[in-house]
Subunit: 455 residues, 2 copies
């Protein structure tokens, strides 16, 4: 341990190496509850690529595990410390190095906050689509680590679609470039995409070339109320089947609506069973919304209210973005599922989730990126109540089993971390897991990078 | 060898195992000239997943190399046979298993022809964007093997963006599922994307789940003539900088235009130095084309002619799609570069390519997916002329060096194969290549899958 600190300090400024347990304790875990987290030996906050390389060389020399971290807003424990590890926090590497409107790329360090980048490129008429609801806090490095999604995915896809090239410090400290800054490129295996979603287990991202798009027109949002979740899902099916491409298509159930109203006094219609938000950022969003309003009505909407303007639209989005946070206030603890099913199975997913809530006598609020079939059933429980905690864990698991049964995946965007390790094995099967491990071994033969995550 | 055939035939129908050298010879190489190709021991044409597994088990047991093949339209020798190999042609596995308009997915076998799938999904109002100019011949398996692009990429991206899930037979015959059929999913490393562009060197794709989009409105094309390639590139920069999203943005130089006219009597304006084709498939393409026409004029276009209707648009696209084939008729042989540069460097790329042509006293026609910065300089030469052949090879290489110097990649869409092996190493550097090899080793420890390609 002393040796570790001495060696680390050889090439790191004093304030970049933190050992005060009062401070390092704050770096122990991300925002997932109920995930094991150890006690880090040290927290390192490098500012340069060379410093990151030095950390990894030291870690390899001394066989010390390393846990990379962004803003620790993750919801699967993927950034949780393990005992005696080096926490490698990239938050101080937060420069936007370049924004190029002709090439439509941004080059950034990993610690850049998602919303900071979004606002910066917007000044140049550009758009970085990936928009997790945590965007004001989370980092691009963390977004890459988890392959983050958000509200815009139904039209614009997830983080993976926007990562063109990376610089990565490998477990042994060597620097590797992957990918490109060109629009296309097929030179060798796509290691860039392999790193996206790898949860810090293959290498440390120290630079990223991101694809940008031209800014779309401001989006206009419509809110439709339904007497049942099934009717709302039917509307989703109709909208997608008709070939519409909304810029978002989100669902909030009654529990979620009420929680948001309680927390933020949003005045959402909280006597309705399901609220669907649809938006378009097309040249004529009002016309598109009118067509969608008709489909909602045909699916049985009890009320359809288009936002009057951009400000009202933004308010509705804020309400949706608050959903997870609001649901967390219902009880002392939550477990947040992230099951994604084929959108034709969305109604079955939501209805059967509510049967699971009844079976376990629990409150499970559901918000969903409905256009993607990506649901977030949030199991609310009292952590002090042992029996309720057990029921919470069981229902959380049963929801993942349901997702797999419906042809879906256990995680649409939050990742596996420590929370869903066993479930990853179930989803991928033995051959899949073996090949995943083989890839891990190819990059990290000593198993030092974020150990205990994923598998 | 006898043992090989006996074993193969144990679980394969007689007509699926071909040894007649007159026939197997036809499977020796793809459409790249000047790439070494060996003599296959046998050509196998399986019709089921189990048959593919049997082939791979046999190959592993007897340590026989296997070269997967689609339609052999590849342009880098990636599908070329090696001596004594099993050529594993997937063309008989050509069923479209499912098209689902709500989930917007198609599930296909690898031998399905790109254009067949495109037409099939179109009947349901859906669109499978990847459209290599060879689309009437090439297979989805080959498209996945090379991560194919095409004309639509500037708006819709390449094959990688449309592969959600795969079933893959591994080198030892085990079957692995990767990915998903949902819109999103982050369960484990993205092995699906790793397979896309892996040129048959990691496993055999036997099934693919592909993402579809709603059919866009028919595209309208505009043709703009320029007195210099630089002016045409300037127009490209202006169009992209202004935030336009054309559905294609293609460039043909004078050599290409003349070759196409000679071959197909298209009546293209062959006194112009560069022809830019731009198209929109937006709700009001005429308005978008008008804006682009203005930008072209501002960049110095000598003539700007919007197509009158869909039929005229299609004719212009056909001309563009014929480019490579037409350039091949200029001399007895060609070497086709595929350099992709940041689009801000397109003018430099094309101008300096023409300096290379002058330096080596060769005809090098250029067509380009200009909106992506992806150029295809086609080096035309007389294969019987030793000196000209040497100059062709040298200029071919110098063009790749130029691409790298301009911050680009040696291959935007045609892949590495045997043609660009040395150049892959230059582009990726020693650490990159070492990690690529490590990944290869993880999947194919005996080195049986498409040996001699990529590295
Ligand atoms: C209120 C709330 C709303 C949310 N909404 C969404 C949402 O809509 N969509 C969504 O997808 N997620 C959402 N999340 C989850 C979370 O915000 C995302 O997963 C986010 O991408 C995490 O970023 P981070 O910077 O906090 O990373 P962290 O949590 O610190 O780390 C995430 C993972 O990335 C790794 N990592 C971090 N930086 C690097 C690096 N430089 N190199 C290598 N590995 C690295 C870590 O080891 C870890 O495995 C939400 C979270 C909260 C709290
Ligand atoms: C006239 C012409 C125009 C072209 N235009 C374009 C263009 O615009 N854009 C573009 O990107 N390309 C273009 N190409 C190149 C070529 O058509 C593409 O690379 C195409 O994707 C190859 O498909 P194929 O079925 O012919 O595959 P093949 O050439 O048979 O194989 C290509 C690679 O994929 C591997 N492979 C094939 N099937 C499988 C499988 N089932 N599992 C694993 N590996 C497999 C092979 O081993 C090989 O490495 C063009 C070619 C021609 C001749």
């Amino acid at each position: 341990m002393d040796d570790l600190l001495v060696r680390l300090r050889e090439h790191l400024p004093a304030d970049a190496v933190i050992t005060d347990p009062d401070i390092t304790g704050g770096y122990a875990h991300d925002m997932a509850s109920f995930c094991a987290a150890g006690t880090p030996a040290v927290v390192v906050l490098p500012r340069t690529v060379e410093q990151v390389q030095h950390v990894m060389r030291t870690a390899t020399a001394l066989r010390v595990p390393v846990v990379p971290q962004g803003a620790r807003t993750g919801l699967s424990g993927a950034a949780n410390a393990s005992d005696g590890c080096i926490v490698l926090s990239l938050v101080k590497m937060d420069r936007i190095l370049e924004v190029n409107p002709v090439d439509r790329v941004a080059v950034v360090e990993p610690g850049v906050i998602n919303a900071v980048l979004s606002r910066e490129v917007q000044k140049l008429g550009l758009y970085y689509p990936p928009d997790p609801s945590s965007w004001e806090m989370c980092t691009i490095g963390g977004n890459i680590g988890t392959a983050s999604g958000g509200l815009c995915c139904v039209k614009y896809g997830v983080t993976a679609e926007y990562v063109l090239g990376l610089e990565v410090v490998l477990a042994d400290g060597r620097l590797m470039s992957t990918g490109r800054r060109t629009a296309k490129g097929v030179a060798g295996y796509d290691l860039t995409r392999l790193f996206v979603g790898s949860e810090g287990s293959l290498g440390i991202v120290v630079k990223a070339v991101l694809a940008l798009r031209p800014s779309p027109p401001p989006q206009l949002v419509l809110a439709a109320e339904f007497a049942t979740a099934a009717a709302a899902c039917d509307a989703v099916v109709r909208i997608m089947e008709r070939g519409h491409t909304p810029s978002l298509l989100e669902l909030m159930d009654r529990t979620t609506i009420q929680a948001v109203n309680r927390m933020a006094h949003m005045g959402l219609p909280d006597s309705t069973e399901a609220l669907l938000l649809a938006a378009f950022d097309t040249p004529d969003p009002a016309a598109d919304l009118a067509a969608v309003a008709e489909l909602c009505t045909a699916a049985g909407a009890t009320q359809v209210v288009p936002a009057e303007d951009a400000a009202e639209s933004e308010l509705l989005l804020q309400a949706r973005r608050l959903s997870l946070t609001a649901l967390e206030t219902i009880k002392s603890a939550t477990m947040i599922d992230d099951v994604c099913v084929p959108r034709s199975k969305l109604a079955a997913m939501i209805e059967r989730t509510s049967a699971i809530a009844a079976k376990y006598d629990l409150t499970i609020g559901v918000c969903a990126h409905a256009g993607d079939g990506n649901t977030h059933p949030v199991v609310c429980f009292d952590a002090a109540d042992e029996d309720e905690s057990r029921r919470a864990r069981e229902s959380f698991d049963e929801i993942m089993a349901l997702g797999l049964e419906l042809g879906g995946t256990i995680t649409g965007e939050h990742g596996v971390g420590v929370l869903k390790k066993e479930w990853l094995a179930r989803e991928l099967g033995p051959v899949g897991i073996e090949m995943q491990r083989a890839v891990k071994h190819a990059f990290d033969p000593l198993g030092l990078l974020n150990p205990g995550k994923l598998f």
